[in-house]
């Protein structure tokens, strides 16, 4: 149970009104209290929308050009690491090799998935399949990944997941289709991963989704929810 005093502190914290020592103490409390974290998030969202009370003022068109120019210059300013012949000279090569292997595995993954869909395609040669690569966003592990093969004609697809650890008890992963014609993401069902954090599942969209722009996996209450509530772990467009 969160006291009113804690809620007061949370409100002041999200508005940046606490003194540094008060903010540090409150952050320690936040780290130890999930319920307080939820309240802080709610208050942060409310504080965010207060910005919309400002009278609308479109920025000048030239500002975007200026920022994009600056971005290009920033990118150029990233100087490549000098070649080092010291004892760690092998590190960049090891990273490059690791990346190459990772890319190779991803490509292999995709090829396998395509092969498994060949049979379905054969039954309906006109059927279109769209592939979505889902990338992790915190708090998912950085190496978690998923590929979705989506067949709009059949309103079904196949998802392959890897490196996504099983959720804690009382939670499930839920797949969502983000469709341009629907305000909220459409549930495509619960996805259960094995002990290695992998899954390969056929799924169907709960509602008709004609214009799917992205797929996402969120962490939800056990058994799933009709409308997304939890954090997004993986998301990606075609």
């Amino acid at each position: 149970m969160i006291s009113e005093e804690q809620q007061d502190q949370a409100a002041l914290y999200v508005l940046g009104l606490l003194e540094p020592h008060e903010a540090a103490a409150f952050e320690s409390e936040l780290n130890a209290n999930a319920e307080l974290r939820d309240i802080a998030r709610e208050l942060r969202e409310a504080a965010g929308v207060v910005a919309l009370a400002a009278p609308p003022q479109p920025p000048p068109a030239s500002l975007k050009q200026r920022i994009m120019r600056e971005l290009a210059m920033e990118t150029k300013r990233v100087v490549p690491m000098p070649t080092r012949r010291g004892s760690f000279g092998w590190v960049p090569w090891a990273i490059a090799a690791g990346l190459a292997i990772f890319c190779g595995l991803l490509a292999l993954d995709r090829v396998r998935l395509k092969r498994e869909l060949a049979e379905i395609r054969a039954a309906d040669p006109l059927m279109q399949t769209t592939f979505f690569t889902l990338a992790p966003s915190a708090p998912a592990p950085a190496d978690a990944k998923a590929t979705v093969a989506w067949q709009p004609g059949r309103q079904s697809g196949v998802i392959r997941i890897s490196n996504l650890p099983a959720p804690q008890p009382g939670k499930d992963y839920q797949l969502w289709a983000v469709d341009a014609a629907h305000e909220d993401p459409i549930s495509a069902g619960i996805i259960r991963v094995d002990k290695n954090g992998s899954a390969q599942v056929r799924f169907k969209s709960v509602k008709r989704a004609e214009h799917v722009k992205a797929f996402a996996i969120s962490l939800e209450r056990e058994g799933g929810v009709p409308k997304k509530e939890g954090p997004i772990l993986l998301v990606g467009t075609a």
Binding site: E45, G48, P60
Partner: protein, 193 residues
């Protein structure tokens, strides 16, 4: 995020993820989506177009460099960028050793205090009309009890501390804290419905 649908939140997160992978087209798309409200916020707090543009440039370059640190468990992309903007603006105000020039008592009043020529006002009005969510949020804000809205706006736009707000309003500190807390919770609750 109350400001947009869950679907839009997912797309925002996807854009941030792509920006984290150095995708300039995603950055450009996110700019198109968020620059309006963020610039409006900077203008309201700074009251000067040149400064607001500089602040917005800082913010977007920060989004570019910090996209990888964005945590969806902490906040929506919209709130993250709003609070980032507010923080940058406050840094500027502090650096200049002065407070925000904004003089606002209510959101209704503020819409009439913008110093702009007729075309800017028309353009701003068009933007508002196009953004149903923003209109709804302003309506919800205007429906908050005036003392709660006043305390929130003083804290948010003028960056007055709760002590300063209490002194300005001649109210006990506890009352001001409660007004801010109740107002934010009510705002969140009403935007959910």
């Amino acid at each position: 995020m109350a400001e947009t649908s869950s679907a839009q939140q997912m797309l925002d997160q996807e854009m941030i993820a792509r920006i984290g992978r150095r995708d300039q087209s995603a950055f450009s798309a996110l700019y198109d989506r968020l620059s309006g409200p963020l610039y409006s916020l900077a203008m309201k707090m700074l009251g000067d177009p040149a400064e607001a543009q500089d602040a917005l440039q800082d913010v977007f370059l920060q989004i570019w460099s910090r996209a990888g640190t964005y945590d969806p468990e902490q906040s929506s992309v919209f709130s993250w960028t709003v609070l980032l903007t507010r923080s940058r603006v406050i840094d500027r105000l502090r650096a200049r050793g002065r407070r925000s020039r904004v003089v606002v008592a209510s959101t209704e009043d503020s819409s009439t205090t913008v110093a702009a020529d007729a075309s800017t006002v028309e353009s701003a009005a068009d933007t508002a009309e196009k953004n149903d969510e923003a209109v709804r949020v302003r309506s919800v804000l205007n429906n908050l009890p005036s003392e709660q809205r006043e305390a929130i706006e003083m804290a948010f736009f003028e960056h007055l501390t709760h002590h300063e707000i209490a002194a300005r309003l001649g109210q006990p500190l506890g009352t001001v804290k409660a007004r801010i807390r109740r107002g934010l919770l009510k705002l969140r609750e009403q935007l959910r419905t």
